[in-house]
Structure formats: C-alpha cells, structure tokens
C-alpha cells in the first residue's frame, strides 16, 4: 500500500508543482518558483529511488490501479501505473536528470520574467514524461506521449515573441502528430487484436506467430509513432529547429528524455517486434540512414546547439539500429549513457551561451577554456564520452551496438563506424572551435553560477562512470543493466552477442585507433583557427548540399508545406466558393424559380381564382367518384 502511494506520487508531484506554479505564476519570484519546481521533481527522484531500492526484479513488476478511465462496451482501460525494471530505469533517468536540469534552470532562467511559467511547463513535462514511462497500458503511455508533445511545443515556443520560434514549435508539434497517427492506429489495431491495451496482457498473448501481417502492420505503426517522437527519418527535421527553446529544455526534452520515448516504446513492446522481423529490418536501415545523415549535417553547423541537435538525431539513430537488431538492452544502455553525456553537453553549451550573453554562433567563440574553466572541463568530458574514448560511458554503449552491428553484417559495422568517426570529428570540431584558439567574439565571458555548474559536474561524473551500469563480461562485469531489464522485457533474454573475445578486442582496437586519428585531424584543422571558412556558396556541390542539411527542410516545404497551404486556400476559394456554395444556392434558386412559375398563376383576378377553385372541386369530386 505504501509503495502504491509512492508510485502514484512520482508523477503526481510534478503535476502538483505545475498546477501551483501555473496558478501563482505572477506572484512568485523566479528563484522561489525554480526552487519549488526543483524540490518537487527531486522528491519524485527520491521516491523513484526508494521504489527502485524496494523493487524485487524477480517479481517482474507491479501494476498500481488508480482509476477506471475509459470503460464502455468491451473496452476497459484503467488509469494505472506499472512498476517494473524498464519503467524504473526510465523513471530514474527522467527524475534524476530532470532534477539536475531543474536546478540548472534556476541559474539559467533567473533573469527571465516568465521564469515561473517556465518551471511550471518544465514540471508539467516531467509529469507527462513520467506518465509515458510508467503507464501500464498503451493509452496511458499515449497520455504522456501527447503530453510531452504539448510541453515540447510550449517550451520551444517559450519566447513567443519571435515568429521563427513559434514556427519551430508548431513544426515540432505537427511532425510529432504525424507520428501519433501511427501510434493511434497501432493502438487501435492492437486493441482489436488482443481486446486490451495492457502491456502485461499483450506481451503474454503476443508470443508465437512470426510475420503475422497484422503484427507487421501494428509494429510498423508503432515505429511511425517512434520516428515522430524520436526524430528519425523522415520526421527528424523538427528537432534541430526545436533548439529555439531555452537550453535546459533542449537538454531535458530534446536530448535526454522525450526523444528517447520512441526507443522506450519499442522496448516496451519488444515482444511484438520480435514477431515481426520485417519491421525490425526497416528500423535497422532507417536508424542507420538517420545516424549517418544527421552526423554528416553536424559537420557543417555553426550554431552550437544545432551541432548538438544533429548529434542527438544521429545518436538516436544508433539506438534504433540496436533495436532493429533486437539488441534492446544495448539500446536502453545507450539511452542511459546518452542521457548523461548529451544532457551534459547541452547544459555545457547553455553555460557557454550564458557566459557569452546569448551568443550561439561558434564562429564568434573560441579560446574560452581559460575563462570558463568548469564549463570547459565538463564539456570536454562530455565530448570524449560521446566520441567513445575508451572507458568512457559512450565507449561501452556505442561499442556494444557496433559489436551487434558486426554480428549482423560487417557492412553495417563499417557504416556505424563511419558514423562514429563523423561524430568524433564534429564534436571535437565544436570543442576546439569553442574553447581553443583565440576568442573571436565581443562579449565578456563569465563563469556561470553554482546552480548551473553543480549539475554539470554531476553529469560529468555520470558520463565517465556510466559505463559501469552495463559493464560487459570482457571488462570483468556481468552486464547488470541487461539482467535487470530482462525481468521487464522477455525479448532481452534472447539477446546474445556471439562474438569471440578476440573479435571484440579487435573491433574495439580498430575503433579506438580511428577515433584518435580523427581527433588528431580535427585538432589540426580547428584548434588553432582564428577564422572559419567562408560562405556556403563557395563550397563544392556535395559539401554545400550537406551544409544546407541535404536541403530536407526545403524539400519538405516544397513537397508538403506549400502545397498544403495552396490546397487549403484553393479548396476554399475554388471548391467551396464555386462548387459547394452555388450548389446550396441552387436549392434556393430552384425554390425561387418554382415560385416564379407559380406566381404567374396568381393573377389576382377574382373570377379566375373562382374558376380555378371550381375546377379543383370538380376534380376532387371526380376522384372521389372514381375511387368508389
């Protein structure tokens, strides 16, 4: 009973915070609001930790029933939460990193007059995200799924006075919604098939039957949902634009938590995916393509947050590759480590931006390592973590995926390795351009306050040691995370990395050597730079194409946005105005015309009317006569 209450408190605390802050947003100061929000999410974290401590993995999991939600006909969907290894993992990430980012935001947002609103929305996001990961059935997850979408919309457009930000917010929401169509259809289909949406029941029933068309359809729809939320091809273009929001938002929503919802969902329904290898193949290749395309774009970005955004998309691609190969625990592992180091990087970037008074263009940075030391060190840690330098958290998680890739096919390994090198290159390019060389900007850099640097330091530590969570046998560990997650998702039990130790060492060796070479290359090109290459117009074609993000935004604009506006306008001016309305007017015109005909009979001549009446009487009499 006590744990039930605790479970319910985990999502409810941030919700309460959101409601309080939203209603008192004009009375609270930024610091009080931030403190309250942080305290609440931190309490959630504490509750999660308590739950985690008290959790016995062997039981599989518990469902906490809160309320009957939709119950009609044969449908019975309760508002219920599920506590198992998977949701606990996500809860810890969400509340833990969430708390740090809340704390960070106190410093970052203290000058903004709408800080209380910001914290309310941040708390609301935490609530939605917790609902997403804790839901005991698809529909509860969908509550969170849409909730985080809404919060993402609100937070991207937080500075609503700038039209471009609003556009970015709208774009994010709409693209997410396109994915949601898939999600809804998947839920409808699963409900039709299983008569319930409870994860536990579906996973029990779904075993058997390979390549059932219905399952393929359901999993594909789920995957479409995941592509929207987790920014995969073809729906990833919203994520870089989403950097319009305040940086803590980018860190929390668009790096650490929300964007991993798609991966969470697929792991949640891993049993379904196991019975649909076709879908898994599609996931694999879309993940690979996303990882490479996003990484390539990252090479040429000049906005510090945009680089990180494309890096996020690319890393998410890696996670999908893992899912596509059925390496669910590897994906979750990467989700976790990525949450650490990407949150760190974003917060670091935020600290840089804060230090430079809002400057985001790396062409006007440089040489900052002296002036903002803590930021530099932590950012450096983040960079080496994401690049997968040995013994960093990113090293373990990414290598695990690449090892699975090699097992799948060496070509895939090659592609993944190439992607990893690209990652290393653009991350170090970023690092060198921002912190090395000479300062090219005008503002006076100053180190951020303690509320901002503490989260950085904590995250830096986590980025370093995060690998321990799932230390492979090769390094003397026994993959604790994998075994923990097994209790929640059966499919993980069947994951098996069948490579010999030699092969693994060799692969690691190759990777490490190449990564160091890449770093050296990047150092040579960027570390001493005082200026940066010129306009895009001077670049060769391919380079320009990549620098312009493969012109995907333009493509979508030409293919969808503008035609949609055109259709909308013309449906109204042409179809509605010239077809529908005239048809309706036709009814009136017909009535008028008929009236015009009948009107002529109304001569007003009394004797004519009398005669007509007489004729009518005769006719009626005759009819009566005939019918007798």
């Amino acid at each position: 009973m006590r744990t039930d209450l605790l479970t319910i408190l985990v999502p409810v605390l941030p919700l309460v915070g959101a409601i309080i802050l939203a209603s008192l947003r004009r009375k609270l100061s930024a610091n009080v609001a931030g403190g309250l929000a942080t305290a609440l999410i931190a309490s959630s974290f504490v509750a999660s930790v308590v739950l985690f401590m008290g959790f016995e993995a062997s039981t599989g999991g518990r469902t906490v029933h809160m309320l009957d939600w939709i119950s009609v006909g044969g449908m019975d969907i309760p508002l219920a939460l599920r506590i198992d290894a998977l949701s606990l993992t996500m809860m810890l990430i969400v509340t833990g990193i969430g708390s740090l980012i809340h704390l960070y935001s106190i410093g970052y947002m203290h000058e903004d007059e709408r800080a209380p609103t910001f914290f309310a929305q941040l708390n609301l996001f935490s609530f939605a995200m917790l609902m997403l990961v804790m839901g005991s059935n698809f529909l509860i997850t969908f509550i969170g799924w849409e909730g985080v979408g809404l919060c993402s919309y609100l937070l991207i457009g937080f500075w609503y006075k700038t039209p471009e930000y609003n556009y970015a917010a709208r774009k994010a929401f709409v693209m997410n919604r396109i994915g949601d169509v898939g999600m809804v259809l998947a839920m409808v289909l699963l409900f039709e098939r299983f008569g319930t949406l409870e994860y536990a029941s579906i996973m029990d029933m779904a075993t058997g039957g390979m390549n059932d068309p219905l399952m393929i359809a359901a999993t594909l729809f789920l995957f479409i949902g995941a592509t929207g939320k987790s920014a995969q091809l073809p729906l990833f273009t919203w994520l870089p634009d989403a950097m319009a929001g305040p940086t803590p938002v980018s860190a929390l929503i668009h790096a650490a938590t929300m964007v991993t919802a798609g991966i969470f969902l697929i792991v949640r329904s891993s049993v379904l995916f196991e019975s649909a290898p076709f879908t898994k193949d599609i996931i694999l290749w879309i993940g690979t393509a996303t990882a490479l395309i996003a990484a390539s774009i990252g090479l040429f970005q000049n906005d510090i947050k945009k680089v990180l955004a494309y890096s996020t998309v690319s890393q998410l691609g890696y996670m999908f590759v893992a899912l596509g190969m059925g390496a669910y625990s590897a994906a979750m592992f990467h989700v976790t480590t990525h949450a650490f180091f990407k949150a760190l990087l974003f917060l670091g970037a935020g600290s840089v931006i804060h230090a430079l008074g809002g400057e985001q263009d790396i062409r006007r940075m440089g040489g900052l390592k002296g002036s903002i030391k803590i930021t530099f060190i932590t950012f450096f840690v983040g960079t080496i973590a994401i690049s997968g330098l040995p013994l960093m958290s990113g090293f373990f998680s990414k290598d695990l995926i690449m090892a699975y890739g090699f097992q799948h096919s060496p070509v895939l390994f090659g592609l993944l390795l190439f992607g990893a090198l690209l990652t290393t290159f653009y991350m170090f390019r970023l690092l060198f351009l921002v912190f090395y060389g000479t300062y090219r900007g005008k503002a006076h850099p100053h180190e951020s306050p303690l509320t901002m640097t503490i989260p950085l330091m904590v995250l830096a530590v986590l980025s370093v040691i995060g690998g321990l969570l799932n230390l492979p046998h090769l390094f003397g560990g026994h993959e604790p995370m994998k075994h923990f997650l097994e209790t929640a998702a059966d499919a993980i039990r069947y994951e098996h990395l069948g490579l010999s130790a030699t092969t693994e060492w060799t692969l690691m060796g190759i990777t490490t050597v190449l990564v160091f070479t890449t770093i050296a290359m990047a150092y040579g090109r960027f570390a001493k730079r005082a200026t940066l290459e010129g306009a895009e117009a001077d670049m060769p074609f391919l380079k320009r194409l990549i620098a312009q993000r493969w012109r995907l935004d333009e493509l979508y604009a030409a293919l969808f946005e503008r035609p949609y506006g055109w259709i909308s306008a013309h449906l109204f001016t042409t179809v509605e105005r010239h077809v529908m309305v005239p048809v309706m007017n036709g009814v009136g015109a017909a009535a008028l015309a008929m009236g015009g005909v009948v009107r002529k009979l109304q001569t007003g001549n009394t004797s004519f009317h009398l005669l007509a009446m007489l004729c009518g009487m005769i006719v009626f009499l005759l009819i009566t006569l005939m019918s007798n």
């Binding site: 939203a22 309320l67 009957d68 939600w69 939709i70 119950s71 009609v72 006909g73 044969g74 449908m75 508002l79 529909l139 969908f142 509550i143 799924w145 849409e146 909730g147 809404l150 919309y153 609100l154 457009g157 609503y160 006075k161 700038t162 039209p163 609003n166 556009y167 917010a169 709208r170 929401f173 709409v174 919604r177 396109i178 949601d180 169509v181 809804v184 259809l185 409808v188 289909l189 409900f191 039709e192 949609y564 506006g565 259709i567 909308s568 306008a569 449906l571 109204f572 179809v575 509605e576 529908m580 309305v581 048809v583 309706m584 007017n585 009814v587 009136g588 009535a591």
Partner: protein, 480 residues
C-alpha cells in the same frame, strides 16, 4: 414533473421577458432561468437509474393513433444535460455583447432552449419533428435581426436549406406512419416497423437528409461557414453547440430504428462522406483568416468525425460519438467565447488584425491554450476519450477509413496551432492598454475547461449513461 419543468421554466421566462421587457435585468433573469433548468436536469440525472423514463403518455391525435409521449432515456438525458449545461454559458457570453433589445435576445434564446428540450424529450417521431422545426424559428429571428453582414440573404439561405431537409424528413415520417399496422410513431414501437429492404434503401436518404444538413455532412455543409461567421456570437454558439446535436440524436432515434437495412447498406458511403468532410474542413480551416469562420470549418471537421463514428454502428463508435458530441458542445462554446473575447478587445475577428496578444492578455492566452488542448484532442481532455473510441469503432468497419479518420488529428493540430500563433503569439504590437481575462471570462471559460478536464480524466459518468442504451440499440439492430 421534470418534463413539465424543463419545458415551462424557459418558456415562461421567455414569455415574461418578451412582454415585460426588463432591459436592465434581462440577462440576469435569463441566466437564473437557465441555471434553474440545469438544476432540474442534474436532479433528473441523479435520479436516473436506467431505462426509458416516461413522464407523459396521453392521447394526442386519436384518429391517427398519435400519442403525446414525453420522457427520456440515457441518450436523451445526455443531450438534455448537454443542452442545460451550455445554455447558462451562452447566456453569460451575452453579457459582453452589446445587442439591441437584450430582453428579446434572451427571450429568443430561451425559446430555443425550450424547443431543444422538447426535441430531446419527445418520445414520438412526429412530436420530435414538431419540436425539431420549432427550434429553428427563434434562431431564425435571432439571426435575421441581430446578424452581421448580409444577414438577410444568409439567414434565408440557411432557413430554406434546413427546411428542405425538414420537409424531406416530414415526408419520410408520414410515409412510415402510413406503413405499419398500428405504428403510431412512438419511439418505443419504432423498431417494430418492418419496411422492405428495397424501400429502406431510398427511405434512408429521405430521413437522413434532414440530419445530414443539420449536422452538416460534407456535401450539405455549405450553409454553415457563412451562417457561423455572420450570426451573432450567441447564435453561433446555439447552432454549433446544441442544434447540430439534434441531427446526431435524430439519426440514433429515428434513422437507425426505422431503416436499419438502409443504414447498413449506406454505412460506408456515409462514413466516407463524413470523413471527406472532416478532412476537407480541416484543410480549409488552416487558411481561414476569420476566427469564427475557422471555427466553423473546424466544427465541420469535428462533426464529420462524429458522424463517421456514429455510423460505425458498434458500441465504441456510437458511445464515442455521443461522448464526443458532449465534448464538442463545450468546445464550441469555449472557442466561440474566446473569439468573442478577442473581438471585444481588438474590434474584429480577423486574425490578420491580431497577433502578439499574449503579451497583453496572458491569462486569456492560457485559457485559449487549454481550450486548444481539448480541440486537438490531447489525452486527459474530453475530446480524446471520444475520438479514441471512435477510432476504435471505425477500425472495426474498415482500416482505411480509420486511417483517414486518424489523420484528422494532424490537420486539427495544424490549423489550431496556426490560429493560436496568429492570435496570441508574435511580437507585441499593441500600443493601447488591454484588459486581460475579466471575471466574466473566467466565469464562462474556467468551469467549461474544468468540466472538460474532469470528464477527460474521469469519463465514467457520461459513458455509463450511454453504454446501456447503445448496447440495446445495437442488439436490436442485429436482430433485424
């Protein structure tokens, strides 16, 4: 007693307002009257235990065997709750309108309420028809005398078009009355009418046309945008929130029981038309510059979905549709109220003239956002429950149709967010001081939003109400 009260409270108040003309107190009197009606309905709800409650059953036209039967079942009660619940807010919305002769305006609104109650209380087809057409009369005068630009032409168009449907319905009803032995149009015996399938196939359209125009379904919708845009705010609210629900109710109470085979025969056609309307309305709404016209097209979109869900004719579809009808009524009132509130402040409902209003009216913006969440059917709002049930119902009919239906959630997001952006967001360009949400705005919007959220989290009370009647209806259909 309940029936008599529901009909008499608004009717007598309306008469009093009409003859006494208390200009100053008219709105207060009307508000008290609607609140009293709401109280009566809530009492009826609390006392309702299931089945059909008949309050009056007496001879009406003995030579034709017609009887005067008044009462309600779960579905009727839902509609009564809906009507009673939105009317106080509609009256309250009038406090901001500066219309001439407020006592007459409120009298007309209360007359409308009386007849709407009559529609949902009638348990006889002909009685239903009479109230159905009666309810049009006060609205007609309201639109004709208090409407905006081109009110005469648009009102007459609307009237002719709706009456055309009504005529067709009357013909159908009379045809049916002439058919069965001993059939007198009572809802209780309506299912016993055994009309040959070949007849049902054309009779379906005769009966359905009236409701298709009222709702409106796709090719019959073109009266709607102009009328919504032209009508005074309260008129649009009545039309959008309650009057179109009469169409839904009529389909359930009349079309389905009389021509079940016809319904089965035309099911996919109607769903298809409805969904075309839903998508068509959703697409057009995106580029509308007038907020009220946008709401009209969004309503077309929502209603298309409603009708599609209804015509799934399974328990999810019908329950969802009814639930959504309730949600839609609240939603329309909220949206229109906000458009009115914006017009009050900016002076026009053109969105081109707005923008950046959030700076001046942050509370109103927040309320708008909550309404928007309901409009795009975010989970934990009322609309989501309805839409989810409808999607589940439609899937059982046809996967492709379900896909089309689900795609409307994207269209909804596109036009609603764009509208929100055009009205509220963007740089502050307003030199003048503007009042933020007033007490009146709170009085209207906050309770409505609260109901919306409450019923989104806990839809049980409403779903329970419709569950049993819907099951009965569907089981009687499968018997045929």
């Amino acid at each position: 007693m309940i029936v008599a009260l529901l009909l008499l409270i608004p009717f007598i108040t309306a008469l009093a307002l009409m003859f006494l003309r208390p200009t100053q107190q008219a709105k207060n009197v009307a508000l008290i009257s609607t609140l009293a009606s709401l109280g009566v309905v809530l009492f009826a709800w609390s006392a309702y235990t299931g089945g059909t409650v008949i309050h009056y059953n007496m001879d009406w036209v003995p030579s034709w065997g017609l009887r005067f039967v008044m009462g309600y079942d779960g579905v009727g009660l839902l509609m009564l709750i809906l009507t009673a619940m939105v009317f106080p807010f509609i009256i309250a919305a009038g406090y901001g309108e500066k219309l001439q002769h407020p006592s007459l305006v409120n009298a007309l609104l209360l007359f409308t309420q009386t007849f709407l109650f009559g529609v949902f209380l009638a348990q006889n087809t002909l009685l239903f028809y009479i109230f159905y057409e009666l309810s049009l009369i006060p609205v007609f005068f309201f639109l004709l005398y208090w409407g905006g630009e081109h009110r005469r032409a648009i009102t007459v168009k609307f009237f002719i078009y709706t009456l055309l449907g009504g005529l067709s319905l009357l013909f159908g009803i009379i045809y049916c009355l002439g058919q069965g032995e001993g059939f007198n149009g009572d809802f209780a015996t309506i299912g016993s009418l055994n009309i040959p399938t070949s007849v049902q196939i054309w009779l379906f359209w005769v009966l359905f046309l009236a409701f298709a125009i009222k709702l409106p379904i796709f090719p019959f919708h073109s009266w709607q945008p102009d009328t919504y845009a032209m009508a005074p705010l309260q008129g649009t609210m009545v039309l959008g929130a309650v009057m179109l629900k009469m169409g839904l109710y009529g389909i359930i109470k009349i079309v389905l029981p009389i021509v079940p085979q016809g319904v089965v025969h035309w099911q996919e056609t109607v769903i298809l038309l409805a969904l075309i309307g839903a998508i068509y309305g959703g697409i057009i709404a995106f580029r509308q510059s007038d907020l009220k016209r946008l709401i009209a097209f969004s309503s077309l979109s929502h209603v298309g979905l409603l009708c599609a869900g209804l015509f799934a004719w399974n328990s999810y579809g019908v329950s969802g549709s009814l639930y959504q009808a309730f949600a839609h009524a609240l939603l329309v009132v909220c949206m229109l109220y906000i458009s009115g509130a914006m017009k009050e402040r900016v002076g026009s409902s053109e969105m081109g003239a707005m923008g950046g209003l959030k700076v001046r009216t942050p509370r109103l913006a927040a309320l708008f956002l909550l309404v928007l969440a309901n409009a795009v059917a975010l989970p934990l709002t009322q609309s989501f429950v309805g839409e989810w049930l409808m999607f589940a119902g439609l899937w059982q009919v046809n996967g492709g149709l379900a896909l089309a239906a689900v795609s409307t959630i994207v269209l909804g997001a596109i036009y609603m967010l764009f509208a929100y952006q055009r009205v509220m967001l963007g740089p502050d360009k307003w030199a003048l001081e503007m009042t933020d949400a007033t007490t009146r705005d709170h009085f209207v919007l906050v309770p409505l939003i609260a109901i919306t959220l409450f019923l989104g989290v806990y839809p049980g009370p409403i779903l329970e109400l419709v569950d049993v009647p819907v099951q009965q209806l569907l089981s009687s259909l499968s018997l045929n």
